[in-house]
Symmetry: D2
Subunit: 384 residues, 4 copies
């Protein structure tokens, strides 16, 4: 919360999706507003023109569009058009929407999984590169300060050689057939055509990305079993995976939406020859670090023990908990700083946040898990 530096300005932001009845759109708006780096000026908030108008008015938006194509073209043509669009539609719409905005010369900030198939993800990656545009993917959990701290510790060798990675993301909100009640979130997230995957896409992708962020190891192959436990459900609500990393490390990944007692229990443990780390999203301000043979240390966000990577996304003092919105906001702030550097013609440097490269790898992970499971849990290599 340092305010000694000069205010860097605000990014003109648009939003596609996130209208009435949506959940994640409001989170993105909170996150974008958190550090005052964005001004939300335009939106096509719903696939229905009427709902889009209603939702946009309720938010006090300046420019409300009936559909995303119109919005991309109009905003791309305006002198003062949006600089970036935030895409928070159901998954199957990410690709066409992102494509439209990239082609209009507008940076993209997209929810995950970035697409429902790797072909689309490759297309978007190529498109972003061709147009020289940023394509950020909001794997928000990776921006928690203690996750960044852990990432730097591993990179610096604090754990020695990584041996075991154990990551899980357990929820219980789909333990009953909620989608049959008409609940909007449950409906599209359990519809294969709209979601692309169930637990594997919705939360398994987060678990994969968290392990990828902290351990930073290339995945070689995996064996997976997807399950659909709730009667009548046609998409997976539980996924269990064994992992083999290049270099010999081994791992396990579990994601479930049918685990009563687990709200959003995203938890990772990484063990190496010199120490171990444990972090859980539900108590995100603490990172447990055990140097081999020594007592476990509780590293706390905001304390003197934080390294540079951890401190960078932290705001309030130790003991004053930061949470989900804070971390989501930290991601948005980093994206804003990147975009402001580009706006001023500077070199933004390597992105400290996930981009379409991570998004593509995430979709390849999902597809490999699905392929392994379809083949009865066969060990399946990750495509390069």
């Amino acid at each position: 919360m340092d305010q000694t530096s000069t205010f860097p300005g605000r990014i003109r932001l648009g939003m596609v999706g996130g209208g009435e009845g949506a959940f994640i759109g409001a989170v993105h708006r909170h996150a974008a507003r958190f550090d005052d780096r964005y001004q939300l000026v335009a939106g096509a908030l719903s696939s229905s023109a009427q709902a889009s108008q209603r939702s946009g008015s309720a938010l006090g938006l300046e420019r409300i569009y009936d559909d995303y194509l119109q919005m991309a073209q109009t905003e791309g043509a305006r002198e003062d058009g949006i600089e970036a669009v935030c895409i928070v539609t159901p998954n199957h719409m990410h690709a066409p929407v992102a494509r439209a905005f990239l082609e209009a010369g507008i940076h993209v900030i997209c929810d995950k999984p970035v697409t429902t198939n790797s072909g689309d993800a490759r297309m978007l990656k190529a498109l972003a590169e061709r147009h020289g545009l940023l394509f950020a993917v909001t794997h928000n959990y990776s921006a928690y300060p203690m996750v960044r701290h852990a990432q730097q510790m591993v990179r610096e060798g604090a754990l020695g050689e990584i041996r075991v990675v154990n990551v899980e993301y357990a929820q219980d909100w789909l333990a009953a057939p909620l989608e049959q009640s008409g609940q909007k979130q449950a409906a599209w997230r359990t519809d294969p055509a709209k979601a692309g995957g169930g637990a594997i896409g919705d939360i398994g992708s987060h678990a994969w990305q968290l392990a990828d962020t902290i351990a930073g190891l290339p995945l070689e192959s995996l064996a997976a079993q997807l399950s659909s436990f709730v009667p009548g459900r046609v998409i997976d609500d539980d996924v269990q995976v064994l992992l083999r990393y290049r270099g010999g490390a081994r791992g396990m990944l579990w994601a479930s939406q049918v685990a009563p007692g687990c709200a959003n229990e995203l938890r990772i443990r990484v063990f190496g020859s010199a120490g171990g780390l444990e972090w859980a999203q539900q108590q995100p301000n603490e990172l447990f670090w055990t140097p081999l043979g020594e007592p476990t240390r509780i590293l706390t966000r905001g304390s003197a023990a934080m390294n540079a990577a951890g401190a960078r996304t932290s705001r309030v003092p130790a003991g004053h908990p930061e949470g989900y919105i804070d971390a989501f906001g930290a991601l948005y702030r980093e994206i804003a700083d990147h975009l402001l550097a580009r706006r001023h013609g500077g070199d933004p440097g390597a992105a400290s946040f996930p981009t379409i490269d991570d998004g593509l790898r995430g979709v390849l992970f999902i597809e490999t898990v699905q392929a392994s499971s379809r083949a009865g849990g066969l060990w399946t290599p990750l495509p390069s």
Copy 2:
């Protein structure tokens, strides 16, 4: 994060204090921005005109003032002047600043303790009433959803008759003589002339207010010992109090700034004839409830178990932690809703947040603790 209702508009807000080197000012700005209910348009951010200009520019403020008096008079006279001022100066300046804005017809949102003596607090209370203005006091911890949930439970009798209240707020940032290093926060907070009280004023007042919020019992008398443990310190850095409530309940309050290992360990336990509650600010999304003779329940923010009071200040789903800024923001949102109702001529109803009444009672509590301690820990009645 409900966005179905029409956007209610934004309060025009000014700020006094919170410039370079300050901590709590930035927190208030985050909190005010959180739910998009305020527009920060004016400020006198420092007692130095130059620093005020620098800080205001860095924040991109429209109207920057050299001092608060000028600001109060000018804003009070403008058609589009600020509707409310947020006061985040050192404690001894709260009273003169608040007075100036009240006299200019501007609502006040003031940090705690509201004044350094009860005479000033009574004066402000009278002034606010005379002018028909809101005077809110930012006891932010009281807006955590699980605190509100606990408050409603107690009011509804879930604990039976309250017997024991145990509240504490422990920190360690002043365990060494930080004020001798020139650290700005430590300097004014350990200066009796500027702070009015040490641990008792800075954090003891929060602990008192949390107990007051949840247990809701009138305090009759207390016995206290204030200590200044760090060599060279002239203000208390530890306070220990026994409490007697009207009706027979008894309590203990401990606040310390010299407790290594405690960052902001604000914790309360309330026990009654029918059950017990426990809540801690460092894990604020959980409330432990034990109906007498039954297993302890972990009530989680965002879950189906929340009552109306708890749900009202909660935003994201269970398992996605809310934190310090979220709760501070919830307080600001409630104040905004109150002010918007007044703006539109409606009846805002009883304030759901702390006001000058609470602020005055808090100062009386502090003064009684100080009097008891000066008298060697004598039992001392609270003034009515």
Copy 3:
């Protein structure tokens, strides 16, 4: 700690293994002594006659033998010979020792894994049945009161239909090549000839048995990867398994001896259509139960919420922690009660503790894991 009933007498007990430098032998002696149901009167405590004599004298044993064969024959022939033998040798000696005592008509209490191959386990099972003798296997963790409580809850349907089982047992004591330092425990436990298996045999078998106890589901097939992470080690020190249960439940099992920060982190979570359970050996007096859609309950040992199965192995009041020895002792007490019933010619009923049947199934589990891993992690059915 009920002492109203008449003292039922003590079982005359012998011990093989557990001499100088051993660990688990002393644990068994504590456990046997805990509830005063045994009298340790004879032993062959070491494979070396001299060490056996030294160790026996140090313990004040009445009858000390140079080797187990001599002991089995002599004790079997005495009128007042031991009624049961406790076998706490390295794993590869379990089978020959147990055979000798069974053939001498003496009941067997054997550490796990019961043998290093299923052929031996089948042989022992047949032998025990032929002679009408008890063959108990000391899967001690299954006797923790909250494990028994959980087992009964699942049997009574409190979780509905079981969907997911997640069990793990992580240690860190073999994260460095301790066996190369001459440490006796590490030496035999990492020697395939003496141990039969590494992490899978030593602790993976406990994890399997805990899941078997609580979930009670027949295992159909598994895919496993064993690893030997520590340079120079020839036995597995980490094992990761995917599980398929008959009826559709799925599971994951992880056991590791190279996980810094984990001392004896045995933890299980079981999720069903109606609720979830979580228990961890390091905090064994608490069981977390979440009925679907309701707050999590902390069930505590000794409280009014305990069911009959849980209460039966519990001794001290809630809040006074029971631990490892208490649970081990509870197992020994149940075995004693069983043997006393047999002594008096009564029907001891079905064993409430693990027997050779469980021991055999455990060895089959280990062999299947090893076979799957050797085949590259292939899905492999459990032999019936």
Copy 4:
């Protein structure tokens, strides 16, 4: 669980109290048996001769007495009489029973509080000294390994100068008027004539002794409020105390039997100029240590980080929890080692466990709390 040393022999032990319906007697028997250092041979287990006979038979005692006087005289006269007596009667009987055995030349192991008034305690202290006998007091919590570890840390200066001590012991078993139901434990513990004090005597004395053990500071004065919350109760069920130690440290003590959700929540925190410690009986295998300005360390029983004092009373490896009986047993083992040294004419050295000196100071503490409370919470000096 080291068995390399020669078995040192067993102490011949008698017991007074602890018959049918008693709780703590069975705990003492478990504790005495734990490390095989005692042989329980005689007892007068009840104030009723018939009940004493029944209880003694149920335990298989060799010599059962109708009353304690007869037992003291007979055992004192026998060549093979008991060497020590364990006194587990209601509190008001401690003094006459202890006196009888001391006068018969028999060492005493007595439950706490040692007497119901300090006159009796002084008498017993003088008597033990005159006869050259050991008088041990079973403040069992002081023998938990992590308590001993903490004690040594403080003595070695790891916390610097002690500033604040915060200790509490909260229960909920008397939150309802259990004594009116005829429950035997509740009946005598709430009868002033038999207990001497309520919460202050039963558990406040444990809290005091734990603080005394770890912080080791002489208490100068205190202010206390005793409450009897449950209708109809004539003894205190809640006690709250402010403490002043010689040298300037300050403290708070809370003991309650009416705190729903607290089973046996004995917890202590000690803060000094160089660091802080926290320990709780319900998770006794962990000690939280924060060196000022550094991350908190979780010190675990059985780990390499333990100091000599902590290691001495620890038995099983880290991660295998020790509990209440283990610690009680550790106290008994230390007493046995002391008595064995005396038996063999050696110098047992200073007692590592609480004795009549601690017992007397404990009673003086209780009396001072009661006097302060009677005087309305007046600050009252401890008698020297």
